[in-house]
Amino acid sequence: MKTIFLVTIALSLGVLAQAQDPAKPGKLPLTITVFSESVSMPNFRNFFKHPNLGIRIGTELYYSRTENRHLLQTVNLGYYYHKDLQNGFYITSEFGYRRFFNNTFVDLTAGLGYLLIDSALPRYKKTGNDYQPIGSTFGRIMPTLGLGAGYKFKTLSVFSRYELFGEMPFGYKGVPVLPHKALHVGTRFNLK
C-alpha cells in the first residue's frame, strides 16, 4: 500500500506539472468543501440523517480554458469521520470538464487516489494458532467520480458536488469495491 501512496503522490505532481495554466501564470485556485459521507449505493438518500462529516482542500490546473469550458486537473487532500466505521484521510487527483452557462457552471470529474483508513473495527492477524491485535490503519485505492454545479461570482465560485468514491480492493463475498457517496458544498477562489 505504501507503493500505491507513493504512486498517487507522483502522479499528482506529474499531472500538476502537465496541467499548467498558460493564460494566468501564478494564479492558483484553492477549493475548500465540507461534505457528508456515507457507505451507499449511488443515490441521494440520507445525506442529512446522522451525517458523517468531512472536509476537502484542493487546487486545480487547466489543460485548456476558454470562456465557456475548462479542461482541468485537480489535486485534493481530504478527511472524513464515519462513526463506527473509519476515519478516512485521502489524496486524490481528478480529470475534469467544466461547462459554463453565463455565470452558472456544471462539471464532471473522474479520478484516482490513495485512501488511508483508520478503522473503527478492531483488526486481528493470525500468528501461529492465535490472533493478535494489529494497527488500525491501512491504505486502499480510491477511485472517484463527481458531478457538480455552481455559480461564479467575481472573485470566487460557490458550488455543490455529488461524489461517488470507492475503497478497493474490498473483497468480502467477492465484492471488489466498497462504495461511498459524498455531498459537498464548497467554494473556489484564487490565491495570490
Binding site: 469521520y81 473495527l121 486481528y124 462504495p179
Partner: protein, 379 residues
Amino acid sequence: MKPRIILIFSLLLAVACSNEVIVPVPPMQEDISYETHPKNQLYETALRDYRNATNSPGSVLLIHRPGEELWIGAVGKSNLAHNTSMNTNSQFRTGSVTKMFTAVVIMKLIEQGKFTLEDKLANILPTVNGKIPEADQITIRHLLGHLSGIIDPPNESLRYQADIINNPTDMYAMTLDETLETYVYGKALHFTPGTSYSYSNTNYWLLGKIAERTTNKTLQMLMEEIILTPLGLARTYIEKRDDRNVTRGYADLYNNGILMDVTLWDKAEGDGEADGGLISTAEDLYRFMNGLFHGELVTLATLEEMKKIQLPTCNTPYCEYGLGLEIWRTDAGIAYGHNGGLVGIEANVLYYEDTGGISVLYKNNGNGSDKSWLDSLMK
C-alpha cells in the same frame, strides 16, 4: 492565507476523531470438560482442523450419537479484544438457525387452532395488503417453506447491505415495520406464490409478526412458553439484550487474511428478529433438536409435515426445504436442521434421521465452510 489554511487542515488531521468501537469486557463463563469422553481426541482434532481451515478465532462442536455420551468441545477465542477463551457454554448468535425456533412457534400456534397452514397472509396480517403483491395468495405454508416469492433484502439488496455497514446503530434500532417499509413493501414478487422456491428472510420476519399479532405476545414470550421453559433452555433468547457475554463475530472483509470485529453488523442484522436473532449455546441447541425430533415440542404428525419438501416440483437439492427445516443429504444419511450465517458467524445444527444423532457446529468467522467432514463422525 495559504499557510493559515494548511495549518487549519493539519490541526484537523491531528485531532481526527477517535472512532474505535469499544468491546465490553465479557463476564466469566462456566466451562465443562469432556476430556474423559472415549472419542475426545478424535472429535477435538476434527474441531481444531475445522477452526484452522476456516481461519476462525474460535469454534464449538457438539456431537451426540445414540449409545454414546454427549460430547462438546470448544477451541480458540470467543472475544479477541479481551483474549477470552471459547468454552462449551459460550453463547453465540445462531443466524438462520433461528428459523427452526420460529417455525416451531408457528406450528404450535397452528396446533392450538390460532390459524392454519393454508390461511392467507392478507387475512391474517391485513396491514400488508397493497404493500406485498398477491398477499391474498400467499399462505402461512408458503412463508414457512420459502414459496412466497417475496424478496430477501439481506441477500438480494445492496442497499440493505450497505445500510448495515453505513450505520449499524440505526439498523439495530429500526423496528420491523420500518425494515419492511424500507426494503420490502412495494417490491415485486419473484414468482407466483407456491410455484417456485426462493429463500427469503422476509418470510420469517412476517411469521414473527403474525405470531405476535395473533397472540398479543412478543416472540420472546412465545418462545419461552413453547420451547425454552418446557425444555429448560436457560441460555437461549431472541429479544435484544446486553450482549457482552455473547461470542463476537469476525470477518475477513478485505480478503487479505486480516479479521475485523463485525459484531455491530451482526447485531444490526440479526438481533431480535424472527429470521436470525436467536442467541444460544451448543447444549441448548442440542436439547432443542432432541426435544423437537422426539415429539416434545410439537406432535409427531406436525413434525412429519415440517420434514416434507414443500415445493411439489422440487428436483434439486437447492429447493429441498420443509417448514423451517433444511433437508441435507449427507454421507450419514438424511439430516434435518438449519445452517445460519451472519457477517461474522456461522452456525449449523443437524438431526440425522438414520442414526438419531445430533450435531451442532459454530465458528466466529462468517465465511461459508465445508462441513462434509461431519458426516464421517456422525455415521
